[in-house]
Symmetry: C2
Subunit: 594 residues, 2 copies
Amino acid sequence: MEEFNILALLIILAGAWVGGTAAKKLGYPPILGELIIGIILGPAVLGLLESSEMIAVLAEVGIILLMVYIGIEINFRDLGKASWPGLLAAIGGFIVPFGLGYFTIIYFGGTNIAALFVAIAVGVTSLATKSRILVDLKLLNTRIAYVLMAGALISDTLALIIFAGMLSFVDAGSIDTWGLIWVAGKAILFFLLTALAGYFLLPLLGKILSDKKVKSRTFHFTLILLIVFIFCELAELAGLHSILGAFMAGLFIRDGVFNRQISKEIHDIFHDVSIGFLAPIFFVSAGFHVTLEVFQTDLLLLTVVILVAMVGKIVGTAVFYLPSGYGWREGIAVGTGMNGRGAVEIIIAGIGLEMGIISDDIFSILVFMAILTTLSVPVLLTWTTNWLRKRGELINQETRKGTLILGANPLGLYLARHLKENEEVVIVDSNRDLAENSRAQGFSTVTGNILKEETMESAEAFDTGTFIALTSNNEINLLAAQLAHDAFFVPRNIVLVAPHQGGAGVELLDRIGASSMFATQTELAPWILKIDSGEVEEVTEEVEEKISTRTWLKQNRSEDSKFLPLLIIDQEGKKRPFHFHDEIEAGEKVLYLR
Amino acid sequence: MEEFNILALLIILAGAWVGGTAAKKLGYPPILGELIIGIILGPAVLGLLESSEMIAVLAEVGIILLMVYIGIEINFRDLGKASWPGLLAAIGGFIVPFGLGYFTIIYFGGTNIAALFVAIAVGVTSLATKSRILVDLKLLNTRIAYVLMAGALISDTLALIIFAGMLSFVDAGSIDTWGLIWVAGKAILFFLLTALAGYFLLPLLGKILSDKKVKSRTFHFTLILLIVFIFCELAELAGLHSILGAFMAGLFIRDGVFNRQISKEIHDIFHDVSIGFLAPIFFVSAGFHVTLEVFQTDLLLLTVVILVAMVGKIVGTAVFYLPSGYGWREGIAVGTGMNGRGAVEIIIAGIGLEMGIISDDIFSILVFMAILTTLSVPVLLTWTTNWLRKRGELINQETRKGTLILGANPLGLYLARHLKENEEVVIVDSNRDLAENSRAQGFSTVTGNILKEETMESAEAFDTGTFIALTSNNEINLLAAQLAHDAFFVPRNIVLVAPHQGGAGVELLDRIGASSMFATQTELAPWILKIDSGEVEEVTEEVEEKISTRTWLKQNRSEDSKFLPLLIIDQEGKKRPFHFHDEIEAGEKVLYLR
C-alpha cells in the first residue's frame, strides 16, 4: 500500500483552513480560498503537494457527503415557494451561458461532450456564501434576495439533472436508437426509483424508528450513510455518477422524516465532516490539477470562457427575468448575484477531468472561471443593488413571513393586534381559556404546549419569520425560542426576560442569537393588569436620528420609568416589535405604553 | 486512479451494521460482529470483497479518529481515581500474558519483534462494550466494575506506551548505542512535547477562543482535526505510528479545554464518524486478512496463543490483585472481565501486518484470539460474579458518588439530611438566603445559578452520582438535569415535575433518561409549608415483595392520598430517593411523609 501520508493531509487541511478563513474574512465563500490555496500548494506554483490515491479517496468521500449536505439544504418547501421570478432567473441564468459555453468550445475545436461539460460548468449557479453576502449588503429582506435564493436552489437541481442526462450519453456516442432509449431509460428509472423510495420508503422508515422509539444518533447516522451509499450505487448502476445518488438521498433526508432533534444533529455532522474536513480536501486538490500555462497557451479561450460565463449569466438572467414584470434592472442585479460558480461547478469539472473528457487545460480554465466569477459577485452585486437603491427600486420582501407569539395573555394579544396590521400573526398558548379568548378576538390561535414539536408545527413555525415568547416564565420562553431556532430555523427569536433571581437569564439568549423583548428585563404581570384595567395609554414618538433600541431606552427611561416600548413603526407604517438587537432609523417611530 | 468502489463501501458498511447490531443484541461489542462479518465477506469465506487502496485509506482515517475518541474517553480524573486495585489489575493483566505471549512466539520460532507484537496484542485489555455488560450483569455499582473500568483505562494507556517504545526499536535492530539512544530519545521527546502542548497550549488556545467568543462548532472541529494531524505527524517524525499521536491528542482534547457545549458536540461527531462510519471499515477489512487455514496449518499455535491469552490474563490479574487485599476470587472475577480484546488489539495487529512484521497467519490467530476472548467475557464474568454473589463477596462501590440537590428549600434540606447519612450531599441554590440557611445547617452548599456551568463545576457535578432537581419550576429542573446529563455526564438525574398546564412536562425527561422524583407529579409548595410548620410525620413501611416504585405508589395512594414517598431504605440502612425508574426489593423499606 502506498504510504498513508499524514503530512500531506495536514498541509491540505491547514491550507484549506487558512485559505477558507481568509476568504470568509473578505466576504467570499471558503471554497474560493481553498481553490487558490490548492493552486499555490500544488504543482502549478510551489509544487509542495500533488494528487495521490489517498487524497483522491478522501476527496471522493468528501464530495459525496457534501452533495448529501447540499441535498439536505434544498428544501422542497422552499422550492415550492420559489415562484415564477426565481424559476425565470434560474432558467435564463442557466440556458444562455450553457448555450454560449457549448458553442464556444465547439468553435475552439473541442469535442461535443467536452463542450457539454463546459456548458454545464458555465451554466451552474452558486450563491457566494449564501445568505452571508446578502447580510453584508443588507439585502436579506429584499425581493432580490428572495429570488436569488430560490433561483440558486432551482439552478443546482436543474444543473444536476442535465448533468445526469449528459452523463448517460457520454458512452452512448455511437450506439443505436434502442441503446439510446435504454441509456435514457436507466437514468429516468434512477430518478423515479430514488424519488419514490425517498418519498415513500424513507418516511415509513422514519415512522418505524420513531414508533420503536429508536433514539440513537449513531444508529441513525449509520443508517443514513447506508441509504446514501445505496442511492450512490443505484446512480452508478444507472450509468450516472455517484454524486447524483448522494444528492437525491440528501433531498429526501429531511425535516420530519426522522426525529427532528436527531435530524438536526445528523445535519450538523454532515455539515462538519464535509465542510470542515473532507470537502476542502477535494477543493484544495482540485487546485493541484490547475496549470498556469493556460495563461500563455490558451489565453484567448480562457478570456472567452470567462466572458461568456459572466455576460451569458447576467444577460441571460435579465432577459428571461423580463416576464416577471420586475424590470430589467432588477434582472441584472439578480444576474450579478447568481454569477458565482462554486462547489457544484468544480465537482462537475473534476468529474469531467477524471473521466478524461476535458483536458487539464480546460479544467484549469474552469477553475479560474469559478474563481473570477465568484470574486465578481460582491463587487457587481454592490453596484447593481446600490443602483436600484438609488432609483428607489430595491423592493422589500421577506422569505419567511409572519409572527408567532407565545402567550395569549392581554399583552400578547395587544402586541398581536398591532402586528396583525402588516402580517400574519399566530398565537400559541397551552391554557385553553386564554387560547379560546384569543380565538374569539379573531386571532388565529393554536392551543398546545409550545415545547412540543407538534404544537410548533401546527402553528406553522416553519414559515414563520419571527417568534416572540411572551410568557411570565423565563425558562419556557427560552426553551421555546431554542426549539424555534434549532428545530424550526426561525430567524428572529425575541424572548421576554423577566428580572429573576437565578434560573435562565439573558446570557442564554446568545447561543441562539435571540434578542430580549422590550430591550430590557421586564415583568409581565403589572402590564397585564394595566392592560386589563384599561389603564394604559399609547404614545408614539418619532426618532430623529438613527439609534439603537437600548440607547433609545436608556435615554427615555431616565425621564419616565413607567413605560413599555412595544413597537417600532417605520415610515411606511409597518410595525415591528421593540427588542434589544434592533436599531431605530431616523424618521421611524416608537410606540410605547404608559 | 483505481475506481472508487461505492459497492464495496456499501457492502462493508451494511455488513458492519448487521454484524455490529447482531453482536450488540447478544450483549457483545459491535467490533466482534464486524470482525466476523469481515471474515465471512472476505477472501477467507465468501470472497465477495478484498482489501483495496480505497478501503485502506478510509480504514486508516477511521482508526485515527477512533484513537482520538478513545483518548477523549480516557479521563485523567478517572485515571486519578483508578487507585491501587485498578492499577494492580491492569499491570498484572498486562505483564503476565505479555510475557507468556512473547515466549510462545519465540518458542514457535518467531522473530523477536513479531513476538513483541503478539505479546502486546495478548496483553491488551478491552472492556466488552464498557458499561453495557456491567449493566446487563447488574454490576454497575460493584467494586468489580470500578476496578474493571479503571483497569481497562490504565491498560489501554500502558499498552500504547509500550507499543510506542517497541515501535521505536523496530528498525533499530542493528544500530549502535548512540543510535538506540537517539531512537528512544525521539519517542520520549514525542511524549514530552505532546503532553506539554496538550497540557499548556491547548487550554491556552481554548481560552483564547472563548475570550474571542468563537462559538462555531465547525471551526472547532476543523481546529481539533488539525491538532490531531499535527500530533500524528509528530508521532511519525518520532518514528512512532500516527495512532499514538491521535491518542495523545484525544487525551488532551477534554472537558474544560474548549467550550463545554461545543466539546460535547465534537465528541459526538468523533464518536459517530469513527464508530458509526469509518472505524467499522477498519474492523471489517481486518477480517479480509484472516485466513482459515491456520486451523489446519497452525492449530497448535492458535490454541496455545488463545490459552496463553486467557489463562495469562485471568491468572495474571488475580495474582497481581492479591496485594489489594480483596481476595483471589475477586481477582479472578476482575481477570475474566478484563479478558476481552478489542479495537486496540486489532489496530496493533493490523499495524504489525502492514509493516510486514507479523504474517497473515499470526494476524489471523490474533483476530481469532480477539473474537474468542471477547466471546468469553460475558460467560466467564457471569460465572465468577455469581460465584462471588453466592458467597456474599460481591462488594458494592460506586464510581461516582454523592448527590447534588438543586433547591435549598425545606424539602430539599429534609431530603439532604437523610441522604447525608450515607454519602456526600451538595446543595445548590441561587437564592442567597436559602443557601446561607442550608450552609448554617451544616450542608456543603453552593450559591449560584445551576444553569451556569461554573456553578455545576463548583458543586463538583463531575464526580456526582445523582442529581436531584427540586425547585418549583419544572423548566429550571429540566434544564438543569439536561446540563447535568449532557455536560457533566451525571448518570442518575431525578427531576421534580409539578403538575402543570403546558411548559416542560414529563415527556421531556426521556431524552436524558431522567426519572421523576416521588414517582409522580408533585406540587412542592404544600410540602414546604408542612415541613416548615412541623406538620409532617415520617412513616416507614417495609415492602414484602419486589415492586416498582410506581406500582407501590398506586397501591398505597389509593389508601391515603396525602403522603409523599421520600426515600427507599435498603436492608443495610442505605437510603436512596424515591423516584419513578426504580424498583423496591423485598425487605427494603419506603420512608414517606404525611
